[in-house]
């Protein structure tokens, strides 16, 4: 039996945990541009990656960073970038490209207060909708959201796994508090962690059809230089990768881009629940706000209020089935967010009026405190 010793505990910043997770997941390429509060990830990478035989490059802007990441991924390296809200805006065109050309990559957005240059050093959750809909065109996307140092580590590995499995950009949407907090954590030994590799073609090059999906909806992907010479484009393309405007071919492509994710929605219901089985009022929260919420739930329970918490770790695709389950069993749902109400819209959408949804919003650069959530719980408790 393995026992954790006191010495296995380490003090780690959220950003450092992300970098550790990325390296364990096999990330060997990082391109980025400095921006508070995401710079720590870049600086760590500049130290660690060359030692691991990987590539670090500081590019001239965020557009270039994601371009380089996509290029490296097409050449076979697991690749990532990290930025904060304004830089994330600049990346949107290339996120759209990576969706269309099905290039695996991981993008960290450490959200800061906005709009515009906003509050560079203060937390916010204003990019929830940008992460979903910021890139042009109808596209599927996966967005994960850690709330602690340990989760940042864990979800970074999972982000790479999902990205490789589905050939899709995966966004790690976090906030200044989660990225900067130092916590003592025990990381699991690497042999206990699951790391997925990209599926490569097992047919000879002359038989390879790059965007044919007969088996899984996710075609196997060779690296440039491995003998499978094929064409990659952001234009709508046929199964060989060549531009097409034929409606049957375009329709098939876009349908597949969506269905490769939607067929696995049930595998993406990642959440933690705390005392939510019998709760009359349930909080739905994510990121650092979920930690304040947990505190508030504990205090409220001590006061005899039957309240609970659902902490979402996947924001997109929205965990409809999970959320509906708790909406049905609760009289009211409270959604606290450091924005003007972005995820709460989604909760209202799936609730369709069936449950009263109460919002608690804050956009002044300060965290939502446990006290504020507790007050809100007491106010709305039936």
């Amino acid at each position: 039996m393995k026992r954790t010793r006191k010495s296995d505990r380490i003090l780690l910043q959220g950003s450092e945990a992300c970098v550790r997770g990325a390296l364990i997941a096999g990330c060997r390429f990082y391109a980025g541009y400095p921006i508070t509060p995401a710079t720590e990830i870049m600086e760590q990478m500049s130290r660690q990656l060359p030692k691991a035989g990987g590539v670090f490059i500081q590019m001239e802007d965020e557009i270039a960073s994601l371009g380089a990441v996509i290029g490296a991924s097409l050449t076979g390296l697991k690749s990532m970038t990290a930025t904060s809200s304004p830089g994330f805006s600049l990346m949107q065109e290339h996120i759209s490209f990576a969706c269309m050309a099905e290039v695996p990559c991981v993008i960290v957005d450490v959200m800061r207060g906005g709009p515009s240059t906003g509050l560079p050093t203060l937390p916010a959750q204003g990019d929830v909708m940008q992460a979903r809909w910021g890139a042009h065109g109808d596209h599927p996307i996966i967005v994960l959201c850690p709330s602690s140092t340990y989760e940042f580590f864990d979800l970074t590995i999972k982000a790479f796994n999902l990205s490789e499995r589905y050939r899709i950009p995966v966004i790690l949407l976090t906030d200044e508090v989660t990225a900067h907090t130092r916590e003592s954590v025990i990381l699991p030994p690497s042999d206990e962690l699951v790391v997925e590799e990209r599926r490569k073609p097992n047919v000879p090059p002359e038989w390879y059809t790059p965007y044919d999906d007969r088996q899984t909806g996710v075609p196997p992907m060779p690296a440039f230089g491995e003998g499978y010479r094929y064409h990659v484009t952001g234009l709508a393309h046929d199964i060989r990768g060549y531009p097409t405007t034929r409606s049957d071919e375009v329709g098939t492509l876009i349908d597949r881009l969506f269905s490769k994710i939607s067929k696995d929605f049930h595998l993406l219901q990642w959440f933690d629940s705390y005392q939510a089985d019998d709760s009359v009022v349930t909080i739905i929260a994510y990121g650092s706000v979920a930690r304040s919420a947990l505190h508030a739930v504990k205090e409220a329970r001590e006061k005899g209020l039957k309240v609970g918490l659902i902490k979402l770790k996947v924001l997109w695709p929205f965990m409809r089935h999970t959320v509906i389950r708790f909406l049905q069993s609760s009289a009211k749902v409270l959604v606290p967010e450091m924005n003007m109400g972005q995820l709460s819209r989604e909760v209202k959408r799936v609730s369709q009026g069936g449950c009263e949804i109460v919002t608690l919003n804050k956009v002044d650069g300060t965290m939502i405190s446990p006290k504020e959530i507790l007050r809100s719980l007491e106010d709305i408790y039936p």
């Binding site: 490059i57 270039a64 230089g225 094929y230 952001g234 531009p243």
Partner: protein, 279 residues
């Protein structure tokens, strides 16, 4: 002729549904021919070449040829190429861009790729206009010209692409027109052979838009214009500044040695690993 047919079968994609998208008489096809001959002449394996483009008429070029090919976003081709070169430095990375692609929306990436001296060959098809979107003025359109988006005359002065590349740090810079197809093939071959950032500016003609805007109605007239206005770099020395301004100087303009970014990076990895092992 035989040789040309052989190259067509060897490099054009039989799986691609032709025809191509270019207008009859467009100069881009001549560049494609020169590029294929240069790659073939250099003896590079098809698997070892990655051909990348941005968006525009020029951006469609890689689609038709049998290499690893990547059609990226408008202006950003060099950023993708940077990732590819660093991920696998043994690949020959060639980027084809339009003048708008490379020096307007992609100008920042262009100067920084040159400054880094990363091992990428940039081929810029300078047709002095935005072809794909319908003949608007570009950063290389002559001052005063009336175009579809400068109906009262262009108020901006054109870039000298080669000058820009030289000052930004490119270690090989050359220019040709598509009329001088042999020279074009030769300088592309030289550029691909270099380790650092190499630039080939290809003065080409967009008959459909730019030709109409400057009053040269046919591809033949436009190519004659190229012939009559080009001057070899060796001869250019004898001309005065004013005379030169009207001319297209062709040939190799810069050829110097400097450490390439990807080479320095490989050394850095080796050093870091050595230090790590020493601990």
């Amino acid at each position: 002729m035989k040789e040309r047919e052989h190259l067509i079968y060897k490099y054009l994609r039989s799986s691609k549904r032709f025809p191509h998208i270019w207008c009859p008489g467009c100069g881009i096809g001549i560049l494609l021919g020169a590029l294929i001959r240069a790659i073939d002449g250099g003896g590079y394996g098809k698997d070892d070449v990655v051909l990348i483009s941005g968006i525009g008429c020029s951006g469609r070029l890689p689609t038709y040829v049998d290499f690893n090919t990547l059609h990226t976003t408008h202006g950003r081709a060099l950023t993708f190429a940077t990732g590819i070169k660093l991920a696998n430095p043994s690949l020959k990375v060639i980027v084809v861009m339009g003048d708008g692609d490379a020096t307007a929306i992609g100008g920042n990436h262009f100067i920084h790729a040159a400054r880094r001296n990363i091992g990428i060959t940039s081929i810029i098809i300078n047709n002095q206009t935005y072809g794909m979107t319908g003949g608007q003025f570009s950063p290389t359109t002559p001052f005063g010209l009336k175009t579809s988006s400068s109906p009262h005359g262009n108020l901006e002065s054109p870039f000298d692409i080669c000058g820009l590349a030289r000052e930004a740090g490119a270690t090989f810079v050359a220019r040709s027109t598509v009329y001088h197809a042999r020279l074009l093939e030769e300088i592309i071959g030289m550029a691909i052979g270099k380790e650092g950032f190499s630039v080939v500016e290809v003065v080409s003609h967009c008959t459909t838009y730019f030709g109409r805007e400057i009053g040269l109605e046919s591809p033949v007239e436009m190519m004659k214009w190229q012939r009559d206005n080009a001057v070899r770099v060796e001869k250019a020395k004898d001309l005065g500044e004013e005379e030169l301004r009207q001319k297209i100087v062709i040939g190799v303009l810069v050829d110097r040695k400097a450490p390439a970014y990807h080479e320095m990076y490989e050394k850095l990895i080796a050093k870091c690993r050595l230090e790590d092992n020493a601990l």
